[in-house]
Every structure is written in structure tokens, then in C-alpha cells.
């Protein structure tokens, strides 16, 4: 394993020390591994709390700031945070208007946030669970789809709604609308290496790739032969377009996300392919996002997220945001 780390067990703690040192506008509660907006709690504003396993940076800590999250809980690598952390985060950002928990749909995340919400007496908590991954077949008998790329967009857009001073129910409704109108699909060229494990999670021959992966180094739905970018784009975009009707006047937000080990030159090349496919499908692109935003440690690969916009979602997306990883308008 080759990583810029000290002891594998200290990776999350030490990385949070770096976040604190680099971002004086944020507070870090090291005991609970929670990153908090420096000015939290904001009286009368709905607080936004998210969190999950570490290893997805900048998600979630990099999205704490004006116009986005109020706090983010960092679990161990790929392991959801524990209820104590979530309770601490919730209390730190409760400005009297309630707190929204944004939770990716993984059994562990859902259960830990659930237990935390039960423990947050005196704070009104609403929960939105993201589940945008079309790689997973949804069914009554399973836990359903994973929450992946759309989570970034939910955090941004719900964050803007909260910043406008809207009440908890409305902020939660906006968040759900984003989740309902967003779909994602990802692929991996290589496995990632969990620091505590010390070796790649899976072996992937040089001429194969994993299709339909999540963000925890899980193998995907299918192992298929390595393909050129144009074909990979089709394998990602087609199931997304099949799953939801994205046509409409508002256009879409097209998001090409890197898994952590894939450089920007490739992500822009992928974005070119994705934009062609959307054009061919008659889906106009109103906004775009290209970069490493929800990652899987050092995995090479990418995911595509498409979000159907309406006037309100577009306005909230464009609203000012100032976080370490997403910043504009302010």
C-alpha cells in the first residue's frame, strides 16, 4: 500500500486536523470527528447535517459552509459514523428551526442516523435518504438503491434553500425533489485500497473494468471488458436515461464525477462523451459539474449523475455557496 499517511488507524483523525488547519472558517470537533460551520448554530436557520464513512472526500466535510452543510460527521473509512457523532453534529447546528439529516442509502448509514435521530430529544429532525444509483435494481424485498452522486447535489440545493430561511419541511421537500429527479451510475478501472486493509479490495485484470460500482470499493454489478471512453459513457448514461424521463424545459445538470484516482483530463474527456449522448437523447444541459466530488479513496473510475432541473432547483443551484470544495457567488 502506497499512501501519504502515518498509522492507518489515524488517517481520519489526522486528515481532520489538516482540514481544521487549512480552513479557519470551519470548526472541527475532534472528539466526535465533526466538521462544523464556524458560525453555527445560525438562529432561525434549518441546520443541515450529513455524514458517512470517510474516504469519499471532499464529501462531506468539504461541503460544509455558507449555502451548503452546517456540519458533517466523518466515520471511519467506508464505515458510517456512529450515533454519538451524529447527535453531536445535530446539537451543534440546531438554531431552533430544526435539523435535516441527509443520509445516503446504506444499511449502516440509515441505522446509525436513525438511532441518532431517536436520541436527539428537543431537536426537530427530518431525514432525507438519497438513493440514486441505477446500477442497483430496486425491489420491495431489498434495501433498495445506494445513495451516490446525487448526494452532492442534494447538499448544495437543500443548503441554498436553508440559507434562504425556509422551514424544515420545505427544505426537506426540496432535498427529496432533488433525489427523486437525480440518477447516477458509476464504474471503476481499478480497486481502491482501504488503509486499514493495506491491499486493494478487489483484483481487476488490466483488460477489465467494474460496471455499476458504489463508492466503497464494492465490486460492481458486472465485470466487463475495458472499453473506450465513448462506450463507457454509453454504459453509464443509457441506464440513467432509461430510468427517468429527463426531457423538459428546465434542462438537466450533468455531473461527471471522478472516483479519486482519475485525473481531470480524463473527466473532461468523459464529460464530452456524456454531453454528446445527452444531446442525442434530446436532453438539454443547463448546468454541469466536472471533478472529484464523491470519491472512493484512490479508485480510478468515474460516475455520471443527471439531475432534472426546474426553475427553483436551478435558482438554488446557482445560489452562492462557499465551502472548501464548492464555491461560487460569494
Amino acid at each position: 500500500m502506497k499512501k501519504l499517511i502515518n498509522a492507518p488507524a489515524d488517517v481520519v483523525t489526522e486528515s481532520l486536523l489538516g482540514v481544521e488547519a487549512a480552513h479557519p472558517e470551519l470548526r472541527v470537533d475532534h472528539q466526535h470527528k465533526v466538521v462544523v460551520r464556524g458560525d453555527a448554530p445560525r438562529q432561525g436557520k434549518v441546520g443541515l447535517v450529513s455524514g458517512g464513512g470517510s474516504g469519499h472526500e471532499p464529501l462531506h466535510g468539504g461541503f460544509v459552509g455558507v449555502g451548503m452543510l452546517d456540519a458533517a460527521c466523518a466515520g471511519e473509512v467506508f464505515t458510517s459514523p456512529v450515533p454519538d457523532q451524529i447527535v453531536a453534529a445535530t446539537q451543534a447546528v440546531d438554531g431552533g428551526a430544526g435539523v435535516l439529516h441527509i443520509v445516503k442509502n446504506y444499511t449502516g448509514d440509515v441505522m446509525n442516523f436513525e438511532m441518532a435521530a431517536e436520541l436527539c430529544e428537543g431537536t426537530e429532525v427530518a431525514t432525507v435518504v438519497t438513493n440514486d444509483d441505477v446500477a442497483v435494481q430496486d425491489s420491495l424485498y431489498t434495501v433498495g438503491r445506494r445513495g451516490v452522486g446525487v448526494t452532492v447535489l442534494v447538499e448544495k440545493i437543500a443548503g441554498a434553500a436553508a440559507e434562504e430561511g425556509r422551514p424544515l419541511a420545505e427544505v426537506a421537500a426540496v432535498a427529496r425533489r432533488v433525489n427523486d429527479n437525480g440518477r447516477s451510475m458509476g464504474m471503476a478501472l481499478t480497486s481502491c485500497t482501504v488503509p486499514a486493509a493495506g491491499h486493494p479490495t478487489f483484483d481487476l485484470p488490466d483488460d477489465e473494468m467494474e460496471l455499476g460500482i458504489g463508492i466503497h470499493g464494492e465490486p460492481g454489478r458486472q465485470r466487463v471488458p475495458l472499453a473506450p471512453a465513448a462506450q463507457i459513457a454509453e454504459l453509464l448514461v443509457d441506464p440513467i436515461l432509461d430510468d427517468h424521463d429527463f426531457r423538459g424545459n428546465g434542462g438537466v445538470l450533468a455531473f461527471v464525477n471522478g472516483m479519486g484516482g482519475t485525473p481531470l483530463i480524463e473527466l473532461y474527456l468523459m464529460y464530452n462523451e456524456v454531453s454528446h449522448l445527452l444531446a442525442k437523447a434530446g436532453v438539454p444541459v443547463a448546468r454541469s459539474l466536472v471533478g472529484n466530488y464523491i470519491t472512493s479513496l484512490d479508485m480510478a473510475g468515474c460516475s455520471v449523475t443527471i439531475l432534472k432541473l426546474d426553475d427553483e432547483l436551478l435558482r438554488l443551484w446557482d445560489a452562492p455557496v462557499s465551502t472548501p470544495a464548492l464555491r461560487w457567488g460569494v
Partner: protein, 212 residues
């Protein structure tokens, strides 16, 4: 009768099993999950052992199980944290403030733990989860005690049932937890949580049996 000291030995033995099988549990999770089950359980059980009060005459089973459950909830995270945590918290509730547990009290406590796991995770038989090792263990334990078996014998049968349940997860198609995302690809792999449950029951058989 099972007292707090015996339960403590059980948890310490389980912690050792988990530490010894850390890599196995993690590599099972690598195949159909996210390669952290061994790491998670080891972190949690190490914390549990550290949190357990030194053996003392007035120690009680309930608080001891509650400490274990709370510690797991607070240190493990992921799916196994709330699930194992709930298992022990519900056992603690079930034993109340008894100072010694008769075999069937212990069996009832384990059943309550199983029900807690189901309440939290909504797993059903055949979903390829820890349920598939824990439920057969509860059943076998109760059946054995009902048959008049001694605790040692009953626990041995429970452990064998947990092992069989663990093995039976191999051909299952996962419907709960991370492995469910793999669909058909989850078939042919042993569930990590069922594997750690089998260790838990085996540890009980080794440490609680002589309390009969």
C-alpha cells in the same frame, strides 16, 4: 447459572475470536461488501473489552451487556454497529437486574437480541445476513433446552446450528446490506456478518457451558 464473570469471559473470548479472524472477516466483506467487517468488529470488541469493568463479586449481567451494547453502538458504525449493539442492548433489557441467569433466561435474552436485530435491520430468513446464523442458533438452543439438554450441550448445538447457518449463506442471493447491491454476484460467497455471529456463538459454547 451464568453470572457476570462468565458473560465477561464470553465477550473477551469473542473479542479474541474476532481479532484472530479479523482478516478473514474483512476479506469475506471485500468479496461482497466493502472490506471492513473485520476491522469494524475488531475496533468495537477491543473497545468493549476495554470498557468492561474488572471482574468483581457484585457485577451484574444486565449492566455488563448494556455496556457492551452501548460501546459497540458508539465505536463500530456501519451496519454491524447498530445491529450488534442492539443485540446486546436487548439482551441487557431481557435479563433485567438478575445477578445470575438460568439457561433458559439466557436463551430468552438471545432471542430478544435476535428480535432487536430484526427490528433494526428488517432482515428475514434467507436474506444472507447475520440473521441467518443467529436465528438457527436461537432455535437450536431453545430446542435443546426444551429437550432437557444441559447448557453445555445446548450451547454446542447452538454453535453447530450457527455454523450451519453461516455455511448456508454461501448460495444465498443477498437481499439486505451492501451485498444486495451485487445482485447475482453475491451468490457463492459467505456472509461476513453470519461468520462473525458463528464466532460469537462458538465463544459462548466455550465459555458459558460450564455454568450449567
Amino acid at each position: 447459572m451464568i453470572d457476570a464473570a462468565a458473560l465477561r469471559r464470553w465477550l473477551v473470548a469473542f473479542a479474541e475470536e474476532v481479532a484472530d479472524n479479523r482478516d478473514l472477516l474483512t476479506s469475506l466483506d471485500a468479496a461482497i461488501g466493502d472490506a471492513d467487517h473485520g476491522i469494524n468488529m475488531d475496533r468495537g470488541m477491543t473497545a468493549v473489552v476495554a470498557a468492561l469493568p474488572e471482574p468483581s463479586a457484585d457485577a451484574q449481567p444486565g449492566p455488563l451487556l448494556k455496556t457492551a451494547g452501548m460501546t459497540l453502538v458508539s465505536t463500530v458504525g456501519g451496519a454491524s454497529g447498530p445491529l450488534y449493539g442492539t443485540l446486546f442492548l436487548r439482551m441487557a433489557q431481557a435479563v433485567g437486574d438478575s445477578t445470575e441467569l438460568a439457561p433458559d433466561t439466557w436463551a430468552k435474552a438471545l432471542r430478544a437480541g435476535l428480535e432487536g436485530v430484526v427490528a433494526r435491520g428488517r432482515a428475514e430468513a434467507g436474506d444472507k445476513t447475520m440473521y441467518d446464523a443467529l436465528a438457527p442458533a436461537c432455535d437450536a438452543l431453545e430446542d435443546a433446552l426444551a429437550d432437557g439438554a444441559g447448557l453445555a450441550d445446548a450451547l454446542a448445538r447452538a454453535s453447530a446450528a450457527a455454523d450451519a447457518g453461516r455455511d448456508a449463506t454461501v448460495p444465498m442471493l443477498a437481499r439486505k446490506g451492501r451485498a444486495s447491491y451485487l445482485g447475482e454476484r453475491s451468490v457463492g460467497h459467505q456472509d461476513p456478518g453470519a461468520t462473525s455471529v458463528a464466532l460469537l456463538v462458538a465463544a459462548a459454547a466455550r465459555t458459558l457451558g460450564d455454568g450449567a
